[in-house]
Symmetry: C4
Subunit: 273 residues, 4 copies
Amino acid sequence: MTDTQRDPRSARERLRVVIFDHDTPLGRAFDVGLIWLIVASVLVVLLESVADYRLAYGAWFRAAEWAFTIAFTVEYGLRLWSATSARAYAGSFFGIVDLVAILPTYLSLFLPGGQALLAVRAIRLLRVFRVLKLATYVSEAALLMRALRASRQKITVFLVGVVTLVITVGALMYLVEGAEHGFTSIPRSIYWAIVTLTTVGYGDVAPQTTLGQMLASLVMILGYGIIAVPTGIVTVEISAAARQAAGRRCPTCTVDGHAGDARFCRVCGAGLA
Amino acid sequence: MTDTQRDPRSARERLRVVIFDHDTPLGRAFDVGLIWLIVASVLVVLLESVADYRLAYGAWFRAAEWAFTIAFTVEYGLRLWSATSARAYAGSFFGIVDLVAILPTYLSLFLPGGQALLAVRAIRLLRVFRVLKLATYVSEAALLMRALRASRQKITVFLVGVVTLVITVGALMYLVEGAEHGFTSIPRSIYWAIVTLTTVGYGDVAPQTTLGQMLASLVMILGYGIIAVPTGIVTVEISAAARQAAGRRCPTCTVDGHAGDARFCRVCGAGLA
Amino acid sequence: MTDTQRDPRSARERLRVVIFDHDTPLGRAFDVGLIWLIVASVLVVLLESVADYRLAYGAWFRAAEWAFTIAFTVEYGLRLWSATSARAYAGSFFGIVDLVAILPTYLSLFLPGGQALLAVRAIRLLRVFRVLKLATYVSEAALLMRALRASRQKITVFLVGVVTLVITVGALMYLVEGAEHGFTSIPRSIYWAIVTLTTVGYGDVAPQTTLGQMLASLVMILGYGIIAVPTGIVTVEISAAARQAAGRRCPTCTVDGHAGDARFCRVCGAGLA
Amino acid sequence: MTDTQRDPRSARERLRVVIFDHDTPLGRAFDVGLIWLIVASVLVVLLESVADYRLAYGAWFRAAEWAFTIAFTVEYGLRLWSATSARAYAGSFFGIVDLVAILPTYLSLFLPGGQALLAVRAIRLLRVFRVLKLATYVSEAALLMRALRASRQKITVFLVGVVTLVITVGALMYLVEGAEHGFTSIPRSIYWAIVTLTTVGYGDVAPQTTLGQMLASLVMILGYGIIAVPTGIVTVEISAAARQAAGRRCPTCTVDGHAGDARFCRVCGAGLA
């Protein structure tokens, strides 16, 4: 402690490497430890929501909650202090999530019953992605992201079509089945249409007239075919992204998609760089 | 108003650009505004169908309905007037939808209870596709359409197979389970078979005998495999359509869709850049 | 009639063309007419199974049944008589289906209540595939068949894995949940496992203990991933079959997959045959 | 018997060929026979778990169990004796499974009620895979395994995303719906989220408030899109694995997996036949 106060600049830098850098052994250890802390804190929130456990171990859960909150508060403070730009960190996605994850415990001092808001802490689990970035996972995640982004427009067109279909079908079923069979309003009928088209099928609302069941059958078979569309889109994009990531182009004959171990073009036989 | 009457031809043309052209700033603004109006009118229909809201705000909903209907009627009139061919517009898909979307309100004057027909207005939401046409979405939608059209025959073969399977399985389950377990008729058994094969699984009808559950298990595993077929078909077609769209054009004979590794035009044999 | 008796051989041949040949106008008309007759006969069987309709129109249904049966019997006789080999026809798949489709009505004379067996007639609908063979559908169906046959071994491996998984999971859930929560026996637990893994999810059997729900969650996420396997297999095979059907090979440089309109190799520029 | 004792070494070797080699006629017969024995023993375990059958044929089941157990014990002993290394076999996956499959019957002598543990025997069915290895299935299974292993990292990234989503959504639904609508705790809400996202949809827990149903609809449509991701990943990997398996081998440097249009080896540059 006194050592860090004697040489504050160097301590801040060393801390920054530990907290924000994921490639040094210490930074890696810090990240992995933090993930386990987050997992533990989320587990406590989950278990506390079970009535039986809350009754039996309520005091322990409360204590653990405060321990985690203080640890995360210290971590937040250190991040603010050691970040190259405290403002940039505080405004970033993870900065906001880090702050939101500690607020509910403090709020519960003034707002009794605000405990439930602690569930927000689950969002902190997203930090796992940051740790995964350490490994080769980053390129895989990037590939998936690129594939999803590339198919963004096709998926938007698809979703608009699905929304229109779902509203139209919901309105029709409201007319056909009516309130006495559970289709009490058009929004509820739309909820049923989504439950059916996505093949979730709770069964809490289900058609009971013959006409309604025929219409529902049509929707199901349609949904069966429609589910193929996003799958096809994403598959093609992942394929393209993978090919792009893996393949090299021959400078002589411009043939694409040479494997990683290729030293000669497979079509013209010229050497590859 | 007096201005448009002084120079009717030019006003009609200017209006046509605003209403039918999606590339000018004014035309774009009109389209976007119209979409929001349609969304609002659909929301009113949805909310009015909820019993609680209808009791509390029924009069407001009625007023809003009339306001939307009048606005859409004016729009329909302007479209008819400014279209290059009023007949062509009135007979087009969107022309018919535009007309059908305003009729129920007028009909409700003579037919009390005809309100429910207003649900038809939801179909107007399809106009969103027209607005989306403004953007690059048009080519994506066209690509999806081309992929679906190209796989039309394969999907027909697939659907005929599914229908035969579903009828046969339905008849079998009717014999096996019988009316006392909810399979009251062959059509109802077919409904169950569709619910099962598409993996929706409401659970309103479910086999209860051991033999019935074994047959159902077979159908489920079959459905598991069968779901792969349309996905495979659509994926391959989207892939082909994407390759064609991405492909290069021959500068000599303008044939499209040359593969990435093509060095010579496949039709005229000229070299590709 | 007298005309056919005067020149029996020629009549038999002419009849064979009408019944077995699908390319002549008359043969096509016969096939289409037959399909409609089959559809009508199946509809009668479906409607008769509905209790209300059976009570109201029972006599009409019975009469229609006899009419269809006599028509199909005459058709069966004519097929036997006009086939190049009566034995070959009678032993073929469609020959057996044709016979089985008319037997239940005759049996119902001796066996009251044998009516339900008429449901077997639904299998005759498979004849639709024969009519579809007329069109270009045959090549599409053949392509799908080839793709499925090519992936037969992969799908077998996959199914064996699924069966083992389902038995193991079923046994585990039987131990975990027990009879009091609906898992009354291992076969019933296996039924639950299939319902869950295929994402059908009736909800007639559902885990209620925390451990059971955790195990079920694992199975669901596994099923989520497993569903990808047959889809991937079939997609790859359809893709291969489509490429093989569409593509030609350059005789000069052996590059595959030239489009249907290609006259020159896209890689070496040589002319294609 | 006396013959094997006269020439023990040769007998051990002959036995090893029968038990461990899958290519000789005798080895094949042994494997197929064993599989049928395993299927029969699993069937007995399944049927015994059905209360009605247990009451009626309990004694027979017990006898069959002992017969199977003794047969499997003898087989285990012979395997230990004839294996090249008894230690290696005993420590291998199948060695452990073989032992675990016979223990419960012996344990039931001391532990009454330990019968249920016999369900463990179902795991022995995995031995089917070994028999399938005889045929060309081995290369197909290896291809699937390679495809799954290659997509391991992408699937991990995907699963981490799904887990985070499921916890966050579960916590939100716990806040929105609350205990009175069946969402009694966050773990139970997470169970609901998994049931919904995987489109299983039991319906034992279902949202009842309007806000909850809107959130659920969002989750369903998300799940609809998300299901496309693993399918896309696996499809691309199976495609790559199949291409590599189908690819040609360079006669000069023996590198595998040349694409269909390759004319030159990508590693050594030599011409391919």
